[in-house]
Every structure is written in C-alpha cells, then in structure tokens.
Subunit: 371 residues, 2 copies
C-alpha cells in the first residue's frame, strides 16, 4: 500500500478486524508540521520523544520536517531506531546501571546521549571504554528525577563529566511533567516559563563555573503549546503532540480533531433494552489510564464512528479484553474511542492502521519490544 496514493480500492476502515488502532495520516502530518513550525518560531531545535509512537515511519516524517534527532525512554527503543538509521539519539531516562555495557555498545555505533543525575551514574560511565555523550537531568520543579536546578550538585556533576577522558558533556535537560497537573492553559504557561527560567539559570551557573553547558533542552507537549518564549534555550523534546489524546484536549494543548489515534472496537455483547454494552476495548487496548475526568473513565466515544465529534458515551470500566460502554448498541456495531493517554494505548498494539478519511492506506509497525 502506498500512503501517498490511496486508491478507490483502498479498504474501508470499518472493514478492519478489531480492536484496531487507527492513525489518521492527515491529522498526524498537520500535528508534525505545526510543532516543527512552533519550534522554528521559538528558535529551538526539535528533538521529538518517540516513546509516544515507537514507529519508524513517524520518526522519519519528524526528521524530514527538521527534527534534529530523537528522544527515547528505553535502550530497547534506542536500539530499534539505531537499526532504522537514526544516529542522534538521546536516552532521556536516568542511567540504568544494569544496562551500561549495552549502552556502551550502542554509543560506539551512533551518537547516544545518556542521562545522569548522580555522581554514581557518572562513575559507572567512566568505567566503560565508550565515547558517551552525557546529559545532566535537571529538576525544574516536577520532583520526579533530576538534580534540583538550584543545587550545587549540577556543577559538581558537570565538572566530573568534563574531567573524564571518554565523556563529553553534551547538554542539560529537564521535563516539566507538572504541566500535566496544571488546572488551566494559563497555569500551563506559568509552569513552562518556570521550566525555561530554571534551565537558563543552570546554563548561567555552569558558565560561571567555567563549564560549557552544551545544549539546554526542555519540553512537554502542554508546555510547548503555551510557552511564550524559549529565549536562552536550545532544544525542545515534546512527544505526545504527534498523536495527542483526550488528556491533551482537557489541558488545552489541542482540540478533539487534532487527535490522530483512536481505537476502533466492536460491540460483542448487548442486552435488549440495556443502557450498557461490552466491546473489545479492554485494558490491553486502551490501558488502565483513567484520565482527568470525574467520574473517571477509560476513553470517550465519538458520536459517530466516522469520528470528528465526541458524544456523551464513555468506556466506564475495563477488564483485560472487555470494555464496558455506556449507551445503547447492537451486537456487531462498531464504535470509535478517543483514548485518555495515547502513549500507553499505542504500547498495547502491534500496528497502526493508517487512514486518510475512511480509506486504509497503510499499516505501520509499532516497535514495542522491551528487551
């Protein structure tokens, strides 16, 4: 099949076996274009996080639009994208000491950035004979991993890296994950500006200590949708924006029509007169991410399975393969669900069914290996 040339004979998406993960190519391409334009306008390189899609075809489109490299969350992802010809990969997860030898093997083949937030991690890198590009993870207020941006440990770690024979300080990175718990678009903007300032502060502290900080890198999808300036910053690493999801619509990062992935499911059990039914969209299709609504749910249904507009129906509970839908349906009826969290939903499927409108134009592999 040729994504660029859907013919009249292309299969209709409603003929797909379900559960199916539908990727709307027009929406995807628009999302990629808009975010690259936004990075260009803000004056930063874009290094998209591919943990969202785990898909070579999407990463290639990001690269051809101008992405300066990619970000991954696991070494398995790094290996997949190395095999696919990507040669500037940032593993933006604190160094896993059980995988340093493996990382070293990869770092001898491509530019592999590894991330540290401790002296113990730097020591483990020094013990390997490999040309590691090292990034220091900074905590700009999210409180997950990273060195607090105003801690003297940042300079201490940078000095240790700079003093090591085979290590090069490539940059400093942060992720303001707390944009996801902001309660309004303006609150997202405030967090994103704090993220920027923290990184500018880190750059200043390192230069004051006589150390070149390398690239200053930040970014989350909500933050990138709201930040007003990235002055003093070199690089952004949003990931979710390629696909978006229901959570992002609630954060104001996008509209429902910007969401590129949906789950197509089939009603498998429906009782006459009941206001509920069961479809094949359980925890291993949608994930158990309950999203931001109260009462919580596992995904919202489109009014019409053709997509476009959300209705009132929801996936109200899930077991491994069963999803319970609110609303009235007939056995065999197709429904289309907007997932709460695209990244986790994608990780449950083997392929994207790529569509333009209702035509299935391609099938792209999701590289979900964990090894």
């Amino acid at each position: 099949m040729n994504a660029g040339n859907p013919s009249a004979a292309a299969p209709d998406l409603f003929d797909l076996r379900t559960p199916a993960l539908i990727l709307d190519l027009d929406v995807l391409e628009n999302n990629l274009r808009v975010m690259q334009d936004r990075a260009d306008t803000l004056g930063v390189r874009l290094r998209p996080h591919v943990k969202t899609h785990k898909c070579v075809e999407i990463a290639e489109r990001q690269r051809s639009r101008g992405a300066s490299g990619i970000t991954v969350s696991t070494l398995a992802e790094a290996r997949v994208f190395t095999e696919a010809g990507f040669d500037d990969i940032l593993w933006a997860f604190p160094l896993n000491l059980s995988r340093v030898a493996e990382a070293a093997a990869l770092a001898r083949r491509v530019e592999l950035g590894v991330t540290v937030d401790s002296l113990a991690a730097v020591e483990a890198l020094e013990a390997e004979d490999a040309p590691f590009s090292v990034w220091i993870e900074i905590d700009c207020g999210y409180g997950r991993s990273g060195v607090p941006y105003d801690s003297g440990l940042v300079v201490e770690i940078a000095r240790r890296i700079s003093g090591a024979d085979r290590l090069a300080l490539r940059g400093c990175l942060t992720h303001a994950g707390h944009t996801y718990s902001a309660d309004s678009p303006s609150a997202v903007a405030v967090v994103a500006e704090e993220e920027r300032r923290a990184m500018v502060e880190v750059g200043r502290a390192l230069r004051a200590a006589g150390i070149e900080p390398g690239f200053l890198s930040l970014g989350s999808t909500p933050g990138m949708s709201r930040v007003e300036t990235l002055e003093g910053i070199d690089e952004a690493r949003p990931g979710n924006y390629a696909l978006y999801d229901y959570m992002q619509t609630r954060l104001g990062s996008c509209g429902v029509r910007d969401c590129a992935v949906t789950v197509l499911a089939t009603v498998v059990s429906a009782r006459a007169g009941s206001d509920e039914a069961i479809a094949d969209c359980g925890a291993l299709a949608l994930s158990k991410d309950m999203g931001p609504d109260d009462p919580s749910h596992y995904g919202r249904l489109f009014r019409d399975p053709g997509g476009g507009e959300l209705g009132d129906c929801r996936v109200t509970s899930v077991s491994q393969e069963h999803g319970r839908l609110s609303g009235r349906y007939a056995v065999g009826e197709k429904v289309r669900v907007l997932p709460n969290h695209a990244c986790l939903t994608v990780a449950h499927f083997d392929h994207f069914e790529v569509v333009r409108g209702r035509c299935v134009v391609d099938r792209w592999k999701i590289r979900r290996t964990r090894d």
Copy 2:
C-alpha cells in the same frame, strides 16, 4: 539453558538487565500441581485460561499435568497456541463479528470453541462454512457479558445452534468475575456457590427443553480456591492461579510465597536524604492497575530483593517508564516488586526470566501479539 538442570554456572537473577519479569519455576510448578489436584478432587476437567501467561512453555506444563484443553481471550492467542500444537481451544470472549472469517479458518484446523450470548452471533456463525463448536455464555450474576442464567433466551439460543447444520453446542460457560470484589474468603465462597447453582440450573433448563447442554464450565481463581463442591459441573477455567499476584493474596486465594512473578527493577534516581526514589518500573512494566489497597499503589516491594516477604514500601506512582518508590535507596540498587495484577504485568514484557531460587535457568517467550 535447561530448566531441569540449573548448573552452578547459571547466571544470578541480580545480574539481569532490568526491568525484568522474574518467574519462579518452583512456585509455578507447585501452583500448577495444586490446582490440577483441586480440579481432580472436585471432579471437574481443568481448562486453564492462558491469557494470564501467554506462554507456550507454561501451557505445555498445564497440559502435561492433566489440563483438558486451554482457554484464550483473543483470536491472536488462539492462533499462537494452535501453532504450538494445542488442538482444543476455547475462545471465551463473546464472538467478535469482525473476526468470524478468521475464526472459521482456525476452526477448520483445530477444535476451536467460540462463545455467543446473542442470536445475532449465532447467525453470523451460520453464515460461515466452518465446523464451529459453540459455547453459550451465561451470566451468573457478574453482569458483564452472557445471557442471564434464568432467561428464556438460553434455550432459544441453544435451539438455534442445535438446528444449524454446521454448528454443534459444545457447552455453556460462565465466569463469576464478582469473586474479585468479594470482601472476604467466605464471601468468595458464596459467590462461587451461586455460580455453580446458576450453571446447574442452566443445564436443567436445557435438558427440560430436550437439548443436551454439553459441558457446564465455570471458574475464576478466587472461586476455585474457596468453592466447596462443583457437583453438576464438568469443567473449570481459572487462569491467574498459575502465577498469582498481590490482588489474589488480598482475596485469600494464595499467600505471598505462592506468587510466581515479580518485577526486578533498578533504582535510577535517588536524592540524598529523600524517602522516595525512582526506578525503572513504570506503567509499561507494572501496568496502571491500582489494586485493592487504600491508599492505592502500583505494587508492593519485597523487604529483600531475594523475595519471600513483603516490606512496607510501595510503588506510589507511575509514568510511562518511571516508578516512584517509597523508602530510601541508592542509585543502582535492585528492588523486587510484587505486581497487583499479574495478567496485565505479563502483557508488558517480551519474556519471562525463569529462575530457581536466584539462578536464572531459562527464558520463555510471552506471546503478546494482538494481531
């Protein structure tokens, strides 16, 4: 590697790259033996649900101990186990009308049981030229899918199946999933007895209508641990018992030492003096199943990573790859987590790392394809 002959040179589980899914072979084998004995004592055939482990090596052990066939939740699983030489497979999920042709192709190769709870599903089967073994799903009070056990629709569907040229009524099945929300072992026993009585009632109603019901099949892991008699029942289909998990310990189905799978993780970020740390056991290792405790968590840590006894520490939050641990740790330290829900945890890994004690003796593939 040879599971039966761990040598002194076998790798130590603490040398594994993480996150790793550890399967304790001694515990597994004991679980398989105990459940087969229990089925034998209760006088029913055992048809284990393999959605829990998705692993040919485990299903082969279940078969060699006496299992009369297997149960699957998806057609992808049915195909995997067909390829592996299993020839009596029950697809215990309400028939998905988008996959009938595929099911027909498989039904021509092996004994494939398909499950219906509507006349619409029977009609779809009639339209295919394949020798389907049909099971009627009964709702014994769980309220998910199935025909209510006391509904006249059971006889109507059975009559329709019996009247169709290529269809054979192989049995009636139910799953008392509400054993999982019972608040005590004695409440589990009450639900399990209701499940048994509902199926006996279904058998009686069908025979009264002149229809041979075939096998009467039921079962959940909690129910099988507590039910006192299965008089009048032919078959049980528990699945989780092979591995067990934290949820099952809370339901009283097993003890912590009966849990066969654990997640080995590495602390990747830990601040001096902090009572929390980050490890590589996020949502794509443990799943987002929050389990039965209040406050909720994503898994409990063993006191010692060698296993055996739970401590007070928990995985208090997860993002895609990050898990936040309560407690004090050093970067690089290994921890071992008892997952809330083994079925969903297993579905996130490519392999089981099979151990006896601390020795890694084998590596078994998890067939997690969804296609």
